[in-house]
């Protein structure tokens, strides 16, 4: 357990963020069944795991930081949030019961509630686990997101 973590994360570079929201849409798309952005939003009712924040000239895209000490993990009552040996914080949406504790404690606001029709669970960045490379980073047109080893 005390092994050295070897984790790659998505780091936002706010100097480069142009708030185009490609990261958001790309994220939603790749996490959809249809792999189509319009269907992902409109038929599958999905939401992005990355959030673009804008305030005047400052903008950045934000997603789960996979904290070294994840408060969401502390707070998860269902055991849906687990940290793997490299420090990656995984959220099992099937297991999640929607207690919103992670939403309440995440200092980055990176755990989001999904409350749509029958769906009640939290969701957050999974670093595009199956995909191998984070879609947001690939989609970013201005190099405002980089995929890099944990600092």
């Amino acid at each position: 357990m005390s092994k050295k973590r070897k984790l790659m994360k998505v780091y936002p570079i706010e100097e480069n963020c142009i708030s185009c929201r490609y990261c958001e849409v790309a994220c939603t798309m790749v996490h959809s069944e249809s792999k189509d952005p319009v269907k992902a939003y409109k038929l599958e009712n999905l939401l992005p795991r990355a959030t673009v924040e804008v305030k005047e000239a400052v903008s950045l895209s934000l997603m789960c930081r996979h904290c070294k000490h994840p408060f969401c993990f502390d707070a998860c009552i269902s055991g849906a949030i687990m940290v793997d040996e490299n420090g990656k914080v995984n959220l099992d949406e099937e297991k999640c019961v929607g207690c919103w504790n992670c939403v309440l404690v995440c200092p980055f606001g990176a755990a989001h509630p999904m409350i749509k029709e029958e769906k009640r669970h939290s969701f957050k960045c999974d670093l595009c686990g199956d995909r191998g490379f984070p879609a947001c980073v690939e989609a970013c047109p201005n190099r405002a997101l980089i995929y890099d080893f944990e600092r």
Partner: protein, 429 residues
């Protein structure tokens, strides 16, 4: 090194996690009179027949993987601080090098006549929830009275409606969740509960539980008598300090612990609902029996037990209502504590019945309520935790798009660029 943990819930799991961060090899023994590691906040789900494995917080593989020896079904009855052993109700003696007391809370049952009758339940443990459910079924219960409109009371009431049972909630105060929400929030929750069919009786309390062997009705202080096929007492929990006291550990409102979660007795640590901790907001020592805190305290205790010095950040009131269709969250204080407090409310989505409220004192956020739109409220929680100056953005605190861009640039630099997200990095600035 041999670690012994009494208790098997959030604090215990946190403690195991903490120990293993530092010490991969030391022996760990968990003692619990219960037979599994389940999630306490989820026990109300039993009422709606959620499969029991869904309630498991950690399954046996967790204990195996972490090399934890479990002594389940046996209660720890006393501690010998001199010999460093824990005595079980089986007369077994379990020696320890470091001990964690994580005995949790026990439900508070006020002295009411008839409270020893069959059909009167508390609702903090899985077995009591299960026996409540069974009792309802066996007795074909149709009406239940719930005493107390706290989180547990409301949740039980809500789920009882879900399975078609009439519910009346009796509350001594004039509104629901009076200690967790402001009046407006209480009203919203109350309305949602009423829509579900829950009835409320405020400003009243139960004088007597009536019935022969089993409860059949209750009599209120106001004099009215309500039919009650069962009664749930959900007034609150108190720290369970019995075991600790056998070791001569200092106990106030709960077990008294240091910043490193150590009790007054060397090598004995305590964490979870059984302790009193320092409230980040007001600096007062008090029991804050909340799941996330229990885990965190257990984790810190674990680190310290294994020899890595780490100070606890302190407790913070954090509540989330998970059973309502509309989420209700709050953290810290929900009403201004004095005249120096500024209150900000977002009414923009009032039409939907939602709102957000923030309370600021001395330029610092000390509490908030978010109903309906809860996304990203963790950022606010952290502002309370880190005591970050928000004077420049206080009006924005209740905006839905309040985010890290509203925080000082140095904060983003530290947390995003330099990735300072270890436990110690979250101290107040």
């Amino acid at each position: 090194m041999r670690y012994v943990i009494v208790g098997n819930s959030a604090a215990a799991v946190g403690c195991i996690t903490g120990i293993r961060k530092v010490d991969p090899d030391g022996e760990i023994v968990v003692i619990s009179y219960e037979d599994r590691c389940y999630s306490k906040p989820m026990i109300a789900d039993v009422l709606v027949d959620v499969p029991e494995e869904k309630l498991l917080y950690r399954d046996s593989s967790f204990f195996e993987k972490n090399g934890v020896e479990t002594i389940l079904g046996h209660k720890a009855v006393s501690i010998n601080r001199k010999n460093k052993v824990v005595a079980l109700d089986s007369n077994e003696l379990v020696p320890y090098d470091k001990l964690l007391i994580a005995t949790g809370g026990k439900p508070f049952v006020p002295p009411i006549n008839g409270s020893d009758k069959k059909g009167v339940f508390t609702f903090t443990e899985l077995h009591s929830a299960v026996s409540f459910k069974n009792y309802l079924k066996e007795n074909g219960a149709e009406e239940v009275v719930v005493i107390g409109s706290g989180f547990i009371g409301l949740e039980v009431a809500y789920f009882l409606r879900e399975i078609g049972i009439k519910v009346k909630v009796v509350e001594l105060l004039d509104r629901v969740l009076a200690r967790a929400l402001d009046r407006r929030g209480s009203k919203i929750v109350e309305n949602m509960m009423r829509e579900k069919g829950v009835e409320f009786i405020f400003n009243d309390t139960i004088e007597e539980i009536m019935g022969d062997e089993k409860v059949s009705s209750v009599r209120l202080k106001s004099g009215s008598v309500l039919r009650a096929d069962a009664v749930v007492v959900a007034i609150g929990v108190r720290p369970n300090t019995e075991l600790a006291q056998t070791a001569g550990v200092e106990v106030n409102k709960g077990i008294s612990v240091s910043d490193t979660m150590e009790t007054s007795v060397p090598d004995i640590f305590a964490a979870g609902d059984c302790i009193e901790c320092t409230d980040i907001v007001d600096g007062q020592k008090k029991p804050i029996p909340l799941f996330p805190l229990a885990f965190e305290q257990g984790f810190i205790a674990g680190l310290n037990m294994a020899g890595k010095k780490m100070e606890y950040l302190g407790g913070l009131v954090l509540n989330s209502l998970k059973f309502l269709p509309v989420p209700v969250l709050n953290a810290g204080v929900v009403e201004p504590v004095d005249d120096s407090c500024e209150v900000f409310v977002n009414d923009k989505f009032e039409k939907k019945g939602f709102y957000r409220k923030a309370i600021v004192r001395d330029g610092k956020l000390i509490g908030f309520i978010a109903i309906g739109e809860i996304d990203r409220t963790g950022i606010l929680t952290n502002l309370i935790r880190q005591k970050i100056d928000v004077s420049n953005v206080k009006e924005r605190l209740v905006e839905l798009d309040f985010g890290l861009v509203d925080l000082p640039q140095w904060w983003r630099e530290e947390k995003l660029k330099r990735d300072k997200t270890a436990y110690k990095d979250w101290r107040a600035v």
